[in-house]
């Protein structure tokens, strides 16, 4: 049985038409199930946890990328399959999972191509895409075997499962989400070395990549860490990979 979680913003009248088309399509494909809407008195986590307790094996997030995160956070670690129906014009996860937008996503659901994907775990929180850390004099203890020291400012540090996608920056690479590794990436800022007008302006920005199973991040002073663009934590933290933690219905044009 399918459980459809409708995010809060779908209560707006402008989404009535697309939701109606989705419900019609799911009916035609035999994917009908229970629909629950997120409302003022109903917390998203409670709705999804209740659905899992009731025995629903397919939890479908209907909404945007934030809606998918809400479902993923609760469903991780349970024996359920997660699906996604992206609503609107653009969605990073729709592109990553190879799922078309709006009612066409129902066809992807009906084909049930399932991938077991890794998650990252930071302290007690699961994250799906990645972590962003201010790389000011941090040290990384990787796999309890070696230590990486980041020198100098202007660097950006990420620990990626599939990649860090900000709202305004979609030009990020997508990493392998079922290889059992997290990719620790240090972006070095380009150096501006133009002393004379005939010299070239900047060296190209470069990056360092360390595939790890476990990394301990420490800094001289507590540093902010943003997980999945939402949850904020502070160092020191231990980040590990949770192998094949979620089952996800994906499309044939997926990037992972």
């Amino acid at each position: 049985m399918y459980f459809y979680f409708y995010d809060t913003f779908l209560a707006d009248k402008k989404y009535t038409d697309v939701l109606s088309r989705i419900e019609t399509r799911t009916l035609h494909l035999g994917l009908q199930g229970k629909i629950e809407r997120c409302a003022l008195l109903k917390n998203a986590e409670e709705i999804i946890a209740e659905a899992i307790l009731k025995g629903y094996k397919n939890i479908i997030a209907v909404g945007d990328d934030a809606s998918f995160y809400k479902v993923m956070k609760v469903a991780a670690g349970h024996e359920v399959t997660i699906g996604f129906i992206p609503i609107g014009k653009e969605s990073v996860f729709a592109r990553v999972f190879g799922i078309p937008m709006n009612e066409l996503a129902c066809d992807t659901l009906s084909k049930r191509v399932i991938e077991n994907l890794d998650l990252g775990k930071i302290n007690d929180h699961y994250f799906f895409s990645g972590l962003k850390i201010e790389a000011k004099k941090v040290s990384l203890r990787c796999d309890d075997e070696y230590t990486v020291h980041v020198e100098g400012g202007g660097s950006e540090l990420e620990v990626c499962n599939i990649g860090c996608f900000d709202d305004n920056d979609m030009q990020r690479p997508v990493y392998n989400a079922h290889d059992g590794f997290l990719d620790t990436i240090i972006h070095h800022a380009p150096k501006n070395r133009r002393f004379f007008f005939w010299e070239k302006n900047q060296t190209a920005a470069s990056r360092s990549i360390f595939p790890v199973r476990k990394v301990r991040i420490e800094a001289e002073a507590p540093v902010k860490i943003v997980a999945d663009g939402q949850v904020v934590l502070k160092t020191p933290v231990t980040v590990t990979v949770a192998k094949k933690k979620i089952k996800m219905i994906v499309g044939k044009d997926r990037l992972i």
Binding site: E90, S91, V92, R95, V96, G98, D143, E145, Y146, T147, V148, H149, V150, E151, G152, S155, F165, M170, Q171, R172, P173, V174, Y175, N176, D179, G180, F181, I186, H188, S206, R207, S208, I209, F210, P211, K252, D253, R254, L255, I256
Partner: protein, 144 residues
Amino acid sequence: MFKTKIHDEVPAQTQTLIGPGITVEGNFTGAGDVTIQGSLVGTLQTTKNVHIGPQAKVSADITAKDILIEGSVSGNVKCYGTLHLKSTATVEGNMETNVIAVELGAQVKGKCVSGIGDVMPEELPAKGDHREKNGVKNKEVLKR
């Protein structure tokens, strides 16, 4: 009108990149190809290839399949494929390799033994092996 574009730069296999300004200390076991442009102190082992850039400084014993050295290495080098020393390479330590190629200008202080064979010992941890699924390599699984 404005299409979301995501770079499909998924590496076909795990690779490790140590960029300039980065110092790694400890026993580094790479899961695939390793490229060093910064500093490494300790040991370096991988079943794949190692590339040491011209500005890199490595104080470590290195064991790998093919090794290309353009920078400074202080430690013993064991190569089960081809050990290539570029003109800017400086190696202080003993080298054991299957095949060696040395460019004019490379500096070596130590013994060199070639023809050791191309079969890597089993005790070298092969982190990359589990990434193959049912005999199909990941670069075939990953799709654009």
